[in-house]
Symmetry: C2
Subunit: 621 residues, 2 copies
């Protein structure tokens, strides 16, 4: 077989049983990898209503048929489990080098079952795998963990995905870090890993899968190498990283600030991509086979000196730990970001939790005695940094916030629910749907809870549909529309971005309006070059639809309902930082839009349950 | 613009007003051409419940964005109108040279409105168009018509699409012939043309549209030229023509015989492709840019000497005029076929009408005094030939049969309805759904009434899905299944073949199991090479889905109902010529299958009406 190994590694942590299982090529073709392939196993193997933090949960690391193709953007893999944050479908993708290395080590997928009484880590190396004692590295940072594992195995090129203390302590939004800077960030998969006593997954391999058409891949690599340097978006992303978005979003009045009470932050300059570049960036780095190198290497100023090995904050982290908390000091933000990476915390949920606490504090819902003597007013960088540490260690107020804002507000009571911004229990990312309303659909309809990477954002399609025409999108749509035109656009984009989560491709390299270079029609070419198949965008999009239906079915069986496809109340308030009357979302228009999305998906219009005929068509019965 | 002229010619036959209208590129991209583009105009311009034979009907000749690309299979165009046979959507495609010539003459589409008091023909030539008197050619055969028009315009390369006396006399299944042998065969579009006093459409042009990527087209042409001669199916089709199917179908017990009372014909050898080749074929010929040359040139034996210019009978004609009437004399069949081509009769409906009359006669429903002294027993070649002439001229019993079997049986009364094999008023083609059950779905669900070219037939997918995987088809299906697996397969194939009717491509060159050489993924490449677009199989299939929904909406507004998606009673009787218990269709299984098809299309499961959200998604509201 070309493109993949054709097997999975099944690791029972309770019994220390490890075995390799073959997977039929048809399964790969049907699910592709990533989200879709992992859900195939999760739906069959996980008992309904399992405790996400119990041994019965499964934790699945899944590459795709294209992961490791030596082309920009094909570095990624997904981690999937039942999420302790949403009690539904949990997924998070990461780039870097870990995914290609797993495939080179001879495995496409690793499924962890059960839990280990003593801390362990998995060591997968050139077709073999073993569980090793991790007692001595338990409680260590991700940086120390990686160093110790490389040291004890004697190979500095081992790729390590690990948790920090946040995962060990079951912080519900703990993440999994690889290479200290690439995160399977959202949904608390690090907590699932911690609950299993699994500290790390270390991989090393010397044999890439064969690809069916190596010439074609070389040709595409050369084309990309020539093209990206002519593309202004790619050059800018390479120069500034994702934090380049801070100032444009602030200028547009949609930079999430003070826990989404406004979209305009007076301190935006201080946390801009330009500021990061000019005052602290020492280098850039990137993922496997990608020349764009969109990640930053930074060194913060006193008192927030950072270690370059943890990487610089991405836009989401900058806004969550910065403007959302009204913190305008890039060094403090970078330091808090480092704490998150070292302890294994999702920066988005962490920033939201801090901002939530700040708003509770400012409104007297949290009294001074309940906040461990922190000055928790908006804008206090010291308190923000301290609280991040306390969350990772579940200390004081941090222990409450470690549950996520939904559960924390239930504990805190009072008016705090007003300040708990989440969908399905997962905290809201750093994009305000009141200024780009397709994002409302992303947040409400993402199967893993509030997520900003479900589809390209609205501004891209206001003037032109160039680049997305292969998806059948022929009509532009105003960013402020949440009408049928937006739903139709979103549905196609949702399938397309979901496809990228199944083939484990980087969205940036495929987004023409960001740093994208690859065109949509390159994707089937790449999958065919990897596998030798004769697939098409049509077949691939059907696979993506399959995975969205799988995720939907998973959530329904876990008890999530149509009513959970919704936004927090705050996002129905007008956003005053945009001088437009339509900078608000009405519940009626959102309700209609969601219903229409269901119908476009051939799901029941009331319940959002996939119709039996649709499931049959997708081969999911 | 590349690939097309960007305009249509609108001809008001009542007022002699002719004008050219520009058509936006977006319309071409949305509808592609052929069926889809014609329906775009028909749905907007035709008043509901129009008389199909009144001046208010429109008759639309439509090429596509790919018609005329110098590649095999891209010779085709559609003619669309409200059908006088079904009172719903009428369409018929034809190959040859007429379509490319229309585009070279500067027009993509011709819409005829109104009707002319005196017979006329249209002459479109290098960007100009005029209506010319046709009084002197009215009542002439298609052969004489073509000769006289070429003679009077002084150009032997003029391409002529015309009707014969059948169209003039409003035979409800009169066809339109071009080059005397290529037919827009089904649905009575020749009668619509006759009702408008339009004898012919003559076209000549010297300027092909520019194509965006001529190198790519040359490369594909060369590839095809090399490939088809290595493909056994193409070689066989080139050698024997479509009549090669007679013996295999007879061996399988599914050669429609004696008006579908059996699938086994004792005289099959006499009407086989081999017989045609050995005893009467003098040459082969084909369509624009195609090396396969699947059409026959034949010369029959006394008393049925034929003129080679009318071409030899295709499989459908052989079976309809042969086995269906139990006629085993290939010369008689070829002669009857020539009569159909000369007078402009659809051979399928004509053969069905004759077989219907024969069965009525054998069962005493038609008495000797009602059949003009013909010996109308099955197998009587002389009577078959005579009756074809009488239908074309509406003489005696022929006048009744000229209404089609549905209306004829209403006139004849008695038990005759049992013998009237049609769906929606259109006669059944020469494939027995009891031996390949997907054909039942084609017949029942074709928007233009019973049609065998709605999808590839079942046998192709029993053992392998190779070739159709780009459609997302991953599972084989037994030919005798009419279960959900078959519906799912059929739906995808229906969209795919429907797409070929919008891009006006020959199905044969794309069918791997017949004479096909092109792969499915070649189609978007070809459309892109023609137009310079960046389309995909996904976008193209969406355009096809759009056209199927357009056709559905057209039928619903004209009064057709879900109950019209059905088969005649005979096809629910067991087919005894196959020694299998399952060689029968139950009404329950067909009902379930049709309902499932509706649901897969996101149509209402009861009524088959497209859901509002689906229409909106397709841009049809």
């Amino acid at each position: 077989m070309f493109g993949f190994n054709g097997n999975l590694l099944r690791v029972d942590l309770s019994s220390n049983d490890i075995r390799t299982e073959t997977v039929d090529e048809k399964i790969y073709r049907k699910y592709l990898g990533g989200r879709g392939l992992a859900l195939h196993f999760l739906l069959r193997e996980l008992e309904p209503k399992a405790d996400p933090l119990g041994p019965e949960n499964e934790l699945i690391f899944s590459t795709s048929v294209a992961t490791g193709v030596p082309l920009p953007g094909f570095s990624r893999y997904a981690v999937v489990a039942k999420s302790p944050l949403t009690d539904g479908f949990g997924e998070a993708e990461a780039g870097g080098f870990w995914g290609p290395e797993l495939k080179s080590a001879g495995f496409d997928v690793v499924i962890f079952e059960g839990s280990s009484e003593e801390p362990v880590y998995l060591w997968a190396n050139d077709g073999t795998a073993e569980l090793r004692d991790a007692s001595h590295i338990w409680s260590k940072t991700t940086g120390d963990t990686q160093a110790m594992i490389r040291e004890e195995l004697g190979d500095s090129l081992i790729r390590v995905a690990s948790i920090g203390q946040a995962g060990e302590k079951l912080v519900r939004y703990a993440c999994i870090m690889n290479e200290l800077k690439f995160a399977n960030g959202r949904g608390g998969l690090g907590a699932v890993m911690g609950s299993k006593g699994l500290k790390a997954v270390a991989v090393r391999g010397h044999r890439r899968p064969d690809f069916a058409d190596a010439d074609k891949i070389r040709e595409l690599a050369k084309w990309f190498a020539d093209s990206w340097q002519k593309n202004p978006g790619s050059l800018s992303r390479s120069k500034f990283g994702t934090a380049e978005m801070v100032l444009p979003l602030n200028a547009g009045g949609i930079l999430p600030t003070r826990n989404f009470t406004t979209g305009s932050f007076e301190g935006a300059e201080g946390i801009s991509g330009e500021e990061m570049k000019n005052t602290m960036t020492t280098d850039s780095e990137g993922c496997f086979a990608c020349p764009i190198r969109c990640k930053r290497v930074v060194k913060g100023r006193e008192p927030y000196v950072t270690d370059p090995m943890y990487g610089g904050p991405e836009y989401e982290s900058v806004a969550a730990l910065g403007s959302l908390c009204a913190v305008g000091d890039m060094s403090a933000v970078a330091y808090a970001n480092q704490l998150c990476n070292a302890h294994g915390l999702d920066t988005i949920s962490t920033g939201c939790a801090v901002a939530f606490a700040m708003e509770c504090f400012e409104n007297g819902v949290l009294g001074a005695d309940e906040v461990d003597d922190l000055d928790l007013r908006f804008g206090r960088a010291e308190a923000m940094v301290k609280l991040v540490e306390m969350i990772a260690g579940r200390e004081g107020l941090g222990d409450i916030l470690a549950e996520g804002v939904m559960r924390a507000s239930r504990k805190i009571g009072g008016d705090s629910e007003r300040y708990a911004l989440h969908v399905k229990g997962k905290e809201i990312p750093m994009h305000d749907p009141r200024g780009k309303k397709g994002v409302a659909l992303q947040y409400a309809l993402s199967p893993s809870g509030a997520d900003h990477m479900q589809a390209a954002h609205d501004a891209a399609f206001e003037k032109s549909v160039r680049g997305v025409e292969p998806l059948g999108i022929l009509d532009t749509s105003d960013r402020m529309s949440l009408g049928p035109d937006k739903v139709k656009l979103f549905k196609q984009l949702h399938l397309w971005w979901g496809l990228l989560d199944s083939v484990c491709a980087c969205k940036f390299v495929f987004v023409p309006h960001a740093c994208g270079v690859f065109k949509i029609n390159h994707l089937p070419e790449i999958v065919n070059a990897a596998t030798g198949w004769d697939t098409s965008l049509l077949e691939l999009m059907t696979a993506s639809e399959r995975s969205l239906n799988q995720a939907r079915m998973f959530n329904l069986r876990e008890g999530l309902k149509s009513a959970d496809d919704w936004l927090p109340d705050r996002l129905f308030e007008p956003l005053k930082s945009i001088p437009r009357e339509d900078a608000k979302i009405s519940k009626d228009e959102l309700r209609s839009a969601i219903r229409m999305y269901y119908e476009l998906m051939n799901w029941d219009g009331e319940t959002g349950r996939p119709r039996a005929s649709k499931l049959y068509e997708l081969g999911l019965t």
